[in-house]
Symmetry: C2
Subunit: 441 residues, 2 copies
């Protein structure tokens, strides 16, 4: 394929039909329906492996896959096979990990408001690390561990006042957000002080997460400087070692051909060097690092296939015109366009076209004018009903945030590898849609 946004094993046949790992997209839709999410399994595996290798090289003891990006037992197995752990944020995500056979000690649990049952289940399955997000949680985890008769390893989530996105970051003293304990006001230090007094808790270290869709290492520099200063303070004041430092995720991917995130090993080396330098400056032993990429592993490996239903050329008040191409999904299977103003690349997938392109907008079938999948695209002007479109880089935060708005069923997710197709999540049926309604049966 012509650009960096398509799956690694995407190709076009002589008539221009898109294949993923040797499977024709038309055959996929014929068998599994449309819309359809398709994952390039080898790409997920390879990217997971690359992240693990590059970040281990940079000082990581473990790389976790951030399950919130997209989770099913198949994906949990792939990344576990490739040597990664799993970052979960609820009892539901934890349950998928457990059923996939991921051992508890390879799992880290996050969340600003874990329920008691989230915590109890985490302890029951032996989750390796629980990331403490509030003072209340210190007591809750300690009590639950104590009742279970175990010592639970924990980390403290620290807000360091850095927020990074793409090529930019902002740096403040405080953070106006729900996560973590503040470095600036002393709450993070106080949390560590309380944790080390509790016999059912084992303090491992600190966690910081600075943003999402990050393209370079700029923001990590200030974050590392601040968090290492806290580690120094913990060593000096509390006589306690920060043996583990988890710097979270947020590594960016290309949605558009011009997007240019740093290469995996380059970003890893930069961050590793930053932390090493800060630790050396502070006179601290380098802690064991951890990272939590989610989108970066699964996002680029996924596409969504849609079937076109109608094409409307709409005149605009400025004298121009726009082609509204309606597909059979929309904001229920991809809320990111409406929610974040996200931009996507889209292509005609079922055939080639030499027709001139025109300004187009790919829209869904929901009863809402904001139901837009791709706001601006140049697409051939001969697109008609029953053509298939492919939207690139939808592997993360599309299926995981999907709804049943307008009572549309959630599409299936299939993976392809070496010409073979596996159902990762089956498509919802009408009975699935109605199963919660006692009056519908």
């Amino acid at each position: 394929m012509e650009s960096n946004v398509w799956p690694m094993h995407a190709s076009r046949d002589e008539r221009g039909a898109l294949s993923i790992a040797g499977v024709d997209c038309r055959d996929l839709v014929a068998e599994f329906g449309s819309p359809l999410y398709v994952l390039d399994e080898d790409q997920v595996r390879l990217t997971a492996r690359r992240y693990r290798e590059a970040y281990e090289e940079a000082g990581a003891g473990i790389v976790y896959y951030a399950a919130k990006a997209f989770l099913a037992t198949a994906v949990a197995r792939w990344v576990y096979d490739e040597g990664l752990g799993l970052d979960v944020a609820s009892a539901g995500e934890l349950e998928v990990a457990v059923r996939a056979g991921v051992p508890g000690d390879r799992i880290i649990m996050h969340g600003n408001n874990k329920s008691m049952s989230d915590i109890e289940r985490a302890i029951e399955v032996g989750v390796g690390r629980i990331v403490i997000d509030s003072f209340e949680e210190i007591v809750r985890v300690a009590d639950a561990a104590s009742r279970a008769g175990i010592v639970q390893s924990v980390m403290v989530r620290v807000t360091v006042g850095v927020e990074a996105h793409t090529h930019d970051f902002i740096s403040t003293a405080h953070e106006d957000q729900k996560f973590g304990l503040s470095l600036a006001n002393g709450n993070a230090l106080e949390a560590v002080r309380r944790i080390i007094k509790l016999p059912s808790l084992n303090f491992l270290g600190l966690h910081s997460h600075i943003g999402s869709q990050i393209f370079d290492a700029g923001g990590f520099e200030i974050a590392a400087e601040r968090i290492v200063s806290l580690a120094k303070r913990i060593w000096d004041d509390l006589d306690t070692e920060v043996s583990h430092l988890n710097l979270g995720g947020g590594m960016g991917i290309a949605y558009l051909p011009d997007d240019d995130p740093l290469e995996i090993p380059v970003m890893a080396a930069l961050i590793g060097d930053i932390v090493a330098k800060e630790c050396a400056n502070a006179g601290l032993v380098m802690p064991s690092l951890a990272f939590e990429p989610g989108r970066a592993i699964v996002g680029p490996a996924g596409i969504t296939l849609y079937e076109v239903g109608t094409v409307k050329l709409v005149e605009l008040d400025d004298g121009g015109s726009r082609s509204y191409i309606s597909v059979d999904g929309g904001m229920s299977d991809n809320i990111r366009t409406a929610l974040y103003g996200a931009e996507y690349s889209v292509a005609l997938a079922s055939r080639d076209s030499a027709a001139p392109v025109r300004m187009s907008r790919v829209v869904g079938k929901h009863c809402e004018s904001g139901d837009i999948v791709v706001r601006d695209a140049l697409l051939p002007d001969d697109i008609v009903a029953s053509d298939l479109l492919a939207v690139a880089a939808t592997g993360a935060y599309c299926r995981s945030m999907a709804s049943n708005y307008n009572h549309l069923p959630k599409p299936a997710v299939v993976s392809v590898r070496d010409g073979k197709v596996t159902v990762v999540l089956r498509r919802e049926s009408m009975e699935d849609l109605l199963r919660l309604d006692p009056g519908a049966s």
Copy 2:
């Protein structure tokens, strides 16, 4: 209750605990879990009846409940009992209506990209009106009706270049959106010309929908003027009567105490008078009107109950502070705050408090900093874990747009009436969450 945003049958007992229709919110959460959507059934019924009566008085032959706002068989039955029809936009919504026992002739089907199976199912169940949204659809509906051996009544969705919201509207020649056929460029007239030639279609009239959360009749004036001019043109050029005119929905509700939508009969009378005047000016017989309120019927009758998990006082760089109150739901059960910047009213529900209020933000438990339920609220500073909060006016577009982000189960929806509780939609279980994953069982 102190303001216009709470359900009609909400009250507080002597200790300040919130009841809906005589049922204590603490008992509801104890039985059905938290978060929990609660609907005031009598309010839904009464509001539906008021809409029907007021708009019939203003010239409506039928008022449809717009199912996309929130749909379950119970709600479909209530509004049908109260004399309303149902506006559906997919085969899934249609199926709920059918299973609720709503007869086909009380149903109208919308959608900018109805699938062939949507259309075929609509014809099979005898849907009274299909609203044609594109040229492609004329042929599709005509063919399906012809194959079924029936004559299908249809309307044409017209874009009139008016977009209304709250107290404001904008008016342009063209509309840069996916719905309908343009009045300005002649497509709407052309669609009627094609429809009346087809023996399997019965042209009933025109449909226009100008916006959402509309507080006054300003936008309807221009929309009515334009659509009546089209009706005149259809009469003059095509010798065809527009016997039905559906002006859509979009009637606004109060989310905050200062919100002041027009009273139902006032809005109805204003719109009725506008259309009557325009028809008189054009020398046309007044058509039978129809309207499609959704949010206005179910929105104000619903609340969401949440349990507080953590409370964090976060210092801000301006020297102030903000209380982050984390609840056990979030953007999965109410995406409107993140998606539209929607504002909500929130109150401590499980007890009274005489404590001073402070600037607060109610946030969810998702792994995302944008996971905000109520961005700005003044709440008592003694709120602690296990307190219940109630968010007002969540009856529309919350459950219907709910996701399983972070593998959170969708909350139950219960209705209350005269001290009795009915499950409208049961809460999802862990097995529900995992049922689509072939590797999870």
